[in-house]
């Protein structure tokens, strides 16, 4: 960390910083709070101001060996010790070591009568004594605003507060002053007027009935800082601020492949399954077998001796084990051997940040090879879309950094907009399997296909996904002219095809016969026509013959008549005249 360097090595213009040790906060503020100056931490009730301040002190002692004074105006020392003990901070032991001093200042308005001019020198004396007695470098005042309730004269109080902050600066301690969030200004009593170096706003917001904490550095004089609102959470090890932007895309990738537990699916994924350390998305409508595929994956991993963390947001571990047993998946022995661990929680149990924190903790302690989140969508519903995606991004980045293979199932609503609804998540995923169901013929059948698989040749085929009491099997789905057929329709289609083939054969035979018959009749007609034709020819010949005989007779008759009349004009040969009349008859 930058601030780990000694102060002297920095250029003098830089503001010296005081690392808080709070996870993530030092990244946002570029090294911590301004050293030797007061910082205002404001926020509404229950947003973690006191814990924030306490952690600042405790980490100051434990990590940076800087003793601290906790001056509390609200909680007593006993209450404070108990409250921060829940974060694993042992204040009492640090007090015994004289590293931390808790001073409870009791202010009760009903006990105080104001009778003229006064100042708060008593507080100064007290604080000074506390700081000097343990050589404190850090001071927490929680919360000075209690003074506004306790002391009636606001004019004096404001003047004294101004003096107090000046005094703290002169004293050279790094101080945190907490204040209640105001309506129109950051704090109820305008404390930001006095503390101008660094202001941090804590916020506890409820979205869809689920509360998420946010932290924002409103102001940091003289330093660059992350201006975004960062989700933070209070876990069992204190506060952790989760800056999304601080995660870089430079994780190492392992080479190996891991089988999915379903041989045919491995075959679809280039024959060897998923890449180790990749993130896999398994989307499907309700009841398509997402959990079953996940459980198969888990079982296969367990049998190889790998540890699997199964995060279930729908079923309890017992229920899962029982249900998987019904299809022949025996998860219980793996649980007993410590290879499979379940983490079941309702998504609405707490906010996304808390889910993330508990997951991180589980992962850190169990150190699994594979993490299965079933389903990630119900987790995402615990926040807004944006938060959900940010959370999944962080989770994936975290897992990738640890080289853990992750399988996320995603429940999609019915319909065919699967690709669209999951597009935002898809970009985060290395492989994406889609489970879908086809409805028809009074049954529903599941199919599976690989939508994407980065870095491997993968099948483009739809496979029918069969679940029996012997487990999962993938079979080729029927793909024909009327679409994809599965289940009994696929079987029906086979017999239908046979029947159709038979029908086609019979049909062809029938048509053949018909054609033959037709041909025969045509031939008969041709014969008839032929004989008719021949008959015509005969008749023509007869006519010609008759005409010839008649002409001959006529000319003979004429010649005879002429001869009888003794005509001297030669007559037109009869044969030519006949030919002329004949052509006139034929031409019309």
């Amino acid at each position: 960390m930058k601030t780990a360097r000694p102060r002297r090595s920095r250029p003098p213009s830089r503001l010296p910083k005081c690392p808080t040790g709070i996870q993530g906060l030092d990244e946002i503020t570029g090294g911590g709070l301004p050293r030797g100056r007061p910082t205002l931490v404001c926020g509404g009730a229950g947003c973690g101001k006191t814990l924030f301040a306490a952690e600042f002190l405790v980490r100051g002692v434990v990590q940076f060996n800087e003793p601290g004074v906790f001056m509390t105006f609200e909680e007593t020392a006993v209450e404070l010790r108990a409250n921060v003990a829940s974060l694993g901070f042992d204040l009492a032991s640090l007090e015994r070591q004289e590293k931390i001093l808790i001073d409870h200042v009791h202010v009760e308005r009903s006990e105080i009568h104001e009778t003229g001019d006064y100042d708060l020198e008593g507080l100064f004396v007290r604080l000074n004594l506390a700081i000097d007695s343990i050589g404190a470098k850090r001071v927490v005042l929680d919360t000075l605003e209690a003074l506004f309730a306790g002391l009636p004269n606001e004019a004096i109080l404001r003047a004294e507060l101004r003096r107090l902050f000046r005094w703290l600066k002169d004293k050279g301690v790094t101080a945190i002053i907490t204040a209640e969030r105001g309506r129109e200004q950051l704090t109820r009593h305008g404390m930001e007027e006095y503390v101008s170096d660094c202001v941090i706003l804590l916020d506890h917001r409820v979205n869809n009935q689920i509360a998420t904490r946010h932290l924002r550095v409103v102001k940091y004089r003289g330093a660059l800082h992350g201006t975004n609102e960062f989700p933070f959470l209070i876990g069992e090890k204190g506060i952790s601020v989760l800056p999304i932007t601080s995660l870089a895309l430079n994780h190492k990738v392992p080479e190996g492949r891991i089988p999915t537990g379903i041989p045919r699916l491995d075959a679809m994924l280039g024959g060897r399954g998923f890449f180790r350390g990749s993130s896999i998305l398994l989307t499907g409508t309700p009841g398509t077998g997402k959990t079953i595929v996940s459980a198969n994956f888990a079982q296969a991993a367990g049998r190889r001796g790998e540890r699997v963390l199964f995060v279930s947001f729908e079923e309890s571990p017992d229920q899962l084990i029982r249900n998987m047993l019904s299809i022949g998946l025996r998860l219980e022995p793996l649980v007993r051997r410590g290879l499979l661990r379940f983490h079941s929680a309702r998504p609405s149990l707490y906010g996304l940040e808390m889910h993330l924190a508990t997951l991180f903790k589980e992962i850190a302690t169990f150190r699994p090879h594979i993490v299965i989140v079933d389903p990630v969508t119900s987790l995402m519903e615990a926040g807004t879309d944006f938060e959900g995606k940010a959370m999944v991004t962080r989770l994936i980045d975290y897992l990738k950094a640890q080289q853990i293979t992750s399988l996320f199932t995603s429940l999609t609503q019915g319909g065919h907009a699967l690709q669209q609804s999951e597009a935002s998540m898809s970009s985060l995923m290395d492989a994406w399997l889609l489970l879908q169901d086809f409805e028809g013929n009074g049954e529903r059948n599941r199919v599976l296909y690989v939508l994407k698989a980065r870095g491997m040749a993968h099948s483009n085929q739809i496979r029918e996904f069969l679940i029996s009491n012997r487990g999962i099997d993938l079979v080729d789905a029927y793909i024909g002219p009327s679409g994809v057929l599965t289940g009994s329709a696929r079987a029906a289609q086979d017999s239908r095809e046979q029947a159709e083939a038979l029908t086609r054969q019979q049909e062809a035979g029938r048509r053949k016969q018909e054609l033959q018959r037709h041909r025969a009749s045509l031939e008969r007609q041709i014969d008839g026509l032929k004989s008719e034709h021949e008959a015509g020819t005969d008749e023509l010949r007869q006519i010609d013959e008759q005409v010839g005989v008649q002409t001959r007779l006529l000319s003979a008759e004429r010649t005879e008549l002429g001869r009888l009349r003794q005509a001297d004009v030669p007559t037109v040969p009869v044969s030519r005249r006949i030919r002329q009349t004949k052509s006139a008859q034929h031409s019309p």
Binding site: H106, V107, I112, T115, G116, Y118, G122, L123
Partner: protein, 115 residues
Amino acid sequence: MKRSCPKPRTAGTLPQAEKFWELRLYVAGQTPKSLTALSNLRRICDDHLKGRYHIDVIDLLAEPQLSRGDQILAIPTLVRKLPQPVRKIIGDLSDTERVLVGLDLRPAVKPGGRP
């Protein structure tokens, strides 16, 4: 202020003034405010508690650790240790009327009139 606490009532109309008064004045150095407060206190006690009071002046600059015991924030602060209950009066005690009310030497004047 409240006079309804059980002790005075059992004592009938007997005023607090019958008892011995132990007072403590917290100051921080010899500031004008501290000196004013001390002289104001002496005057009031002489007027109302003659011979039945004792004043301890505690200088927090000299004994800062004593500030925690009586929860001292403001300077000057007058603490009535006896008679019980403990009462705290802050300021330079220049408003005599309020000091008397605060010390329970005189009933509080309500805005509507006398009780």
